[in-house]
């Protein structure tokens, strides 16, 4: 039975006792005190702090215990099954974390002389090569810090490309399917483009007619995931891309779903011009409870001059790796330095560990697990798969509980809360937007069959409970979760009266 640990929710500030310290910073020597006061005297007193900061004063053990308790009130992949659709919450191999703790990985300053960072550069160079090979692109930048940041980089490349053609005035629109992640339209806006949304057809795929009528001379490009967010492979992909290319638009591949296709098919072969990867999805780097991730971007040969600077190159004459700043039409930089190295190192380690055969098997098993679950889930009373019912899905599928809502007034949100009570992380709910009462399920390749079966059994139990004529059985769902450290949360209150820091909390209490 799942029962999450529940501790009293004391804030670190409430554990404070004046005079305690959790870490002692060395005291200044007499000489240092003199030097300090010399400097301080030269600063205008108006700029100096008069009163010490109101930070908590706690012992080392208090800190350790406080955050250990918090961790016990959190759920990760290491805790249990995490079928959060579109997030690829697979097992994060421990070796990948282990190597990032080496001083040779951590204690390196980005401005060190390149001769002293050849190891890091070699790792970056190789990972970029491997990602290029996996995606069918010619060159990859590792600079972007996250998936959405990769999208940003990619669409800025689209912008710069049209600018270089003297067409930026005209090329003002990015086409995005209605099933897309919110980051796609948000990215288009940040890059100064107008978003044109096209509807999906009845199969959940891009409606070619709708696409044709949306595409004009103003089309700068299109953003697409394939398989799409419904877990369905866009079979007309070549036609789609041709339509975009015919108006000199660029095709952008959102790599959120790359876990489905490794070694099977490549975005480059489909005709895409730009690809981003989520290292924290496909390449097993942990998500960190919200980040950091990494969102490398690959491009075809023609777009290499537009990549952010620097990329990493190898000089065969001197057998050394170096930073390449020679990208004549570079979009510039999208962040400081070169990328999230500790994430890059994890992905490098992961690819070594699995190798080509392993990566292919990853995608095969991810797709097998998803289809297995889909085949059994869609037969459960009250649940359906509105798109792709009779075909195979890729690495994920979207279940709808709209029938349950209609019959019993119990929502997908209620269902997700009950799933939590049984010790699982719930699927993504209410996304993609085109599926009513959506439950988006992505089992990933690392979960054993028994886990998938247990999850399917929960959905069966839910079906039985929601259709039960006994109110207390239905209430088990409506009152869930009760096995977590808190029960249902008042989000409305949180938004209506935002208390976003301890300062605000104290102001309210006064």
């Amino acid at each position: 039975m799942f029962k999450q640990t529940t501790w009293e929710k004391s804030l670190i500030f409430e554990l404070s006792t004046p005079g305690r310290i959790g870490y002692e910073v060395a005291e200044l020597s007499d000489k240092e005190k003199i030097l300090l006061s010399q400097s301080k005297q030269r600063i205008h007193p108006d700029l100096m702090r008069k009163k010490r900061l109101d930070l908590p004063e706690v012992s080392e053990l208090s800190v350790v215990r406080h955050f250990t308790r918090l961790s016990q009130m959190n759920y990760g992949v290491d805790t249990g099954f995490y079928p959060l659709g579109s997030c690829t919450m697979k097992y994060n191999p421990k070796i990948c974390d282990f190597v990032t703790t080496f001083p040779e990985a951590q204690n390196i300053h980005p401005y060190q002389d390149p001769s002293t960072v050849q190891g890091s550069l070699q790792i970056m160079f190789k990972l970029a090569k491997w990602l290029a090979e996996l995606s069918g692109m010619s060159k990859v930048t590792l600079q972007p810090a996250a998936g959405a940041h990769g999208e940003y980089t990619g669409i800025m490349i689209v912008r710069k490309y049209h600018e270089s053609q003297g067409n930026l005035e005209k090329k003002t629109e990015i086409i995005i399917p209605d099933s897309a992640h919110g980051t796609n339209p948000a990215t288009a806006t940040m890059c100064g483009f107008k978003t044109v949304i096209i509807p999906s057809n009845e199969d959940g795929c891009v409606d070619l007619e709708a696409l044709r009528s949306a595409v004009t001379d103003r089309t700068a490009g299109m953003m697409l995931t394939n398989p799409n967010t419904l877990g369905i492979f866009e079979q007309n992909i070549e036609d789609i891309i041709k339509i975009i290319h015919d108006v000199d638009g660029l095709a952008y591949y959102d790599g959120a779903n790359f876990n489905a296709i490794m070694g099977k098919v490549r975005p480059g072969d489909m005709g895409f011009d730009i690809v981003h990867f989520n290292l924290h999805k496909t390449f097993a780097t942990p998500h960190g409870g919200g980040g950091p991730g990494a969102g490398p971007v690959g491009v075809i040969t023609r777009l290499e001059p537009f990549l952010p600077v620097p990329t990493v190159d190898f000089d065969p004459d001197t057998q050394t790796y170096f930073f390449q700043y020679d990208h004549p039409f570079s979009i510039g930089k999208v962040r400081s330095y070169f990328g999230n190295f500790s994430i890059i190192l994890r992905a490098f380690t992961y690819i070594l560990r699995l190798g080509y055969e392993g990566l292919k098997a990853v995608s095969e098993m991810a797709v097998l697990n998803a289809n297995y679950m889909k085949s059994l889930c869609q037969t459960i009373k009250g649940f359906s798969v509105p798109y792709g019912k009779d075909s195979f899905c890729m690495h994920e599928f979207v279940l709808s509980s709209k029938q349950i809502l209609r019959d019993t007034n119990i929502s997908a949100l209620d269902i997700s809360k009950f799933i939590i009570d049984r010790g699982f992380h719930p699927p993504t709910v209410y996304f993609p937007l085109i599926v009513p009462e959506a439950l988006m399920i992505e089992p990933t390749e690392t979960e054993p069959k028994k886990m998938l079966d247990d999850f399917i059994q929960i959905l069966k139990d839910i079906s039985r409970l929601v259709y039960s004529d006994q109110e207390e059985e239905r209430n088990q769902i409506l009152e869930a979760p009760c096995n977590t450290s808190v029960r249902r949360i008042d989000d409305v209150k949180a938004a209506r009266n935002p208390i976003l820091s301890y300062r605000m909390l104290k102001q309210q209490e006064e």
Binding site: W130, M190, G288, S336, N340, L500
Partner: protein
């Protein structure tokens, strides 16, 4: 049904748990006989038939040895006496942080979309927001951005979003990486970045130039950005005045800060900041060759500003049916998953775990620790500055402004700064960042940083080597 196995169905690996029998059962349940049938929706001509040029599978032992062998080519700052800073600093990281960050309930979780099961991370991030609010004296903090450079980009976008004006004023003497990121970030919104110069004597912002610039672009300025301490390491004493100029223009005042400096310097909120951004790497994160970092983003609690903030925000609330405390993501109607093309930013994955590291760091140090740390940095910086000052052939400090934890020194034109760099490198010293490639007017100048991890003996050795260099080269 007869099952034919493809080769990869037999691929055995610790990360792939399905056995052959299980695979067969599953295929049967789906109603196919091979895994490849599941990929039949991919048009045949697109399907890969050749082997990709990727490494073979390695055992854990082999993998470790390959990674170690590569990393061994790096030279760490533990092996070099490093005075590099310029945005990333070597500070000591209490061991507690790594221990707590290794709690996999934190680090193998996704963004806390299901709040009831994710209270630990939500509370930790709320405490992060609270600690940053305390040090900046600004109430509203988002739960992290990628780094300070992108935080600056987002701040510039936010200024235009709020004021609907399109000129953003920044120092000409920004870290080059940050400046380039800012230029990229502001292109899409059509924001024009204008720079103000520094005073050639003090290294501080040229107040006269700022007021002239604001006069010539009176109704177009969305905001003014200043860093304190600035990129030269110098404490900007005109911040209050610049804040007043900004507010007179009805612009947004944006401060860039070093969190450690707030142990002894006033907080941005104390001198009028509307937005404060910072790099959190110095409070609890390894340098990691430049990433991951932590972009701090704090805002004055004002309704107009709060609706325009980018990024995730955690709020404290209660359970629906009780007064028990609970934490949840809030003000989400600003964000991409709800607002889509009208969102305040596209940011989704941020740097939550880095924010957790800083939360633990600030909790450990407390008010006394942070104050003392700031004092140590400042006094040792002063020590190096003065030691260099005593050397003929070195101008130290180059600017007369008061530095916090880094400063510029200049090598006399009699000597070659290139030779000096090589000489120091041969003696295992990285003496600082050579500024001339980025700022040609700063000939033979180095930006050199000192923190509490810099030992007095390191400083003495550094200055001794510079003396030797000057002697050797006829000084």
């Amino acid at each position: 049904m007869k099952i034919t196995m493809t080769s990869s169905q037999r691929f055995i690996h610790p990360y792939l748990p399905q056995t052959e029998t299980q695979i067969e059962t599953m295929l049967e349940s789906i109603g196919v006989s091979t895994i490849s049938e599941l990929f039949s929706s991919i048009p045949e001509k697109l399907r890969l038939t050749r082997k990709l040029n990727l490494p073979p599978t390695h055992s854990e032992q082999e993998t470790l040895s390959i990674v170690k062998k590569a990393l061994r080519k790096n030279k760490t700052v533990d092996e070099i006496s490093s005075f590099l800073g310029a945005g990333i600093y070597q500070h000591f990281i209490p061991t507690v942080i790594q221990t707590l960050l290794s709690r996999s309930e934190f680090y193998t979780a996704y963004t806390p979309y299901a709040p009831e099961i994710s209270q630990g991370m939500l509370q930790a991030l709320w405490e992060y927001q609270s600690l940053i609010a305390e040090i900046t004296k600004l109430d509203l903090v988002n739960s992290s951005m990628y780094d300070m450079a992108t935080a600056l980009g987002e701040a510039a976008l936010m200024c235009t979003r709020v004021t609907r004006k399109e000129i953003f004023l920044v120092p000409s003497y920004l870290q080059p990486e940050k400046f380039q990121t800012l230029l990229t970030y502001t292109q899409g919104a059509g924001i024009s970045i204008k720079t103000y110069p520094f005073d050639k004597e003090t290294g501080k912002a040229d107040l006269y130039a700022i007021s002239e610039l604001t006069k010539s672009h009176k109704n177009q300025i969305s905001g003014i950005y200043i860093e304190n301490p600035n990129f030269w390491g110098i404490i900007e004493e005109g911040v209050q005045e610049i804040g007043k100029i900004t507010h007179d223009l009805k612009g947004i005042f944006v401060i860039g800060f070093d969190p450690i400096s707030l142990g002894i310097l006033k907080s941005p909120g104390d001198y009028g900041a509307d937005i404060a951004i910072g790099e959190g790497q110095s409070i609890g994160l390894p340098m990691n060759f430049g990433g991951p970092l932590l972009g701090i983003f704090a805002v004055k609690n004002d309704r107009k500003l709060s609706r325009a903030v980018p990024g995730r925000i955690i709020g404290i609330t209660t359970e629906v049916k009780s007064a028990n405390r609970a934490f949840t993501m809030t003000l989400q109607t600003r964000e991409q998953h709800i607002r889509r093309e009208k969102a305040t930013s596209n940011i989704c994955t941020n740097n939550a775990l880095c924010a957790l590291a800083s939360t633990i760091y600030l909790s450990l140090l407390g008010p006394i620790g942070l104050e003392r740390l700031a004092e140590l940095c400042m006094s040792r910086t002063t020590y190096l500055l003065e030691e260099l000052h005593s050397i003929d052939g070195i101008k130290s400090p180059y600017f007369s402004g008061v530095p916090f934890k880094e400063f510029i020194f200049q090598l006399d034109s009699k000597f070659s700064s290139n030779d000096l760099e090589i000489f120091l490198q041969n003696n295992n010293i990285q003496g600082g960042l050579s500024l001339q490639p980025y700022f040609p007017e700063l000939k033979q100048c180095f930006l050199t940083a000192v923190t509490e991890t810099t030992k007095i003996s390191d400083i003495d050795q550094f200055t001794q080597k510079i003396r030797e260099f000057i002697l050797e080269h006829g000084g």
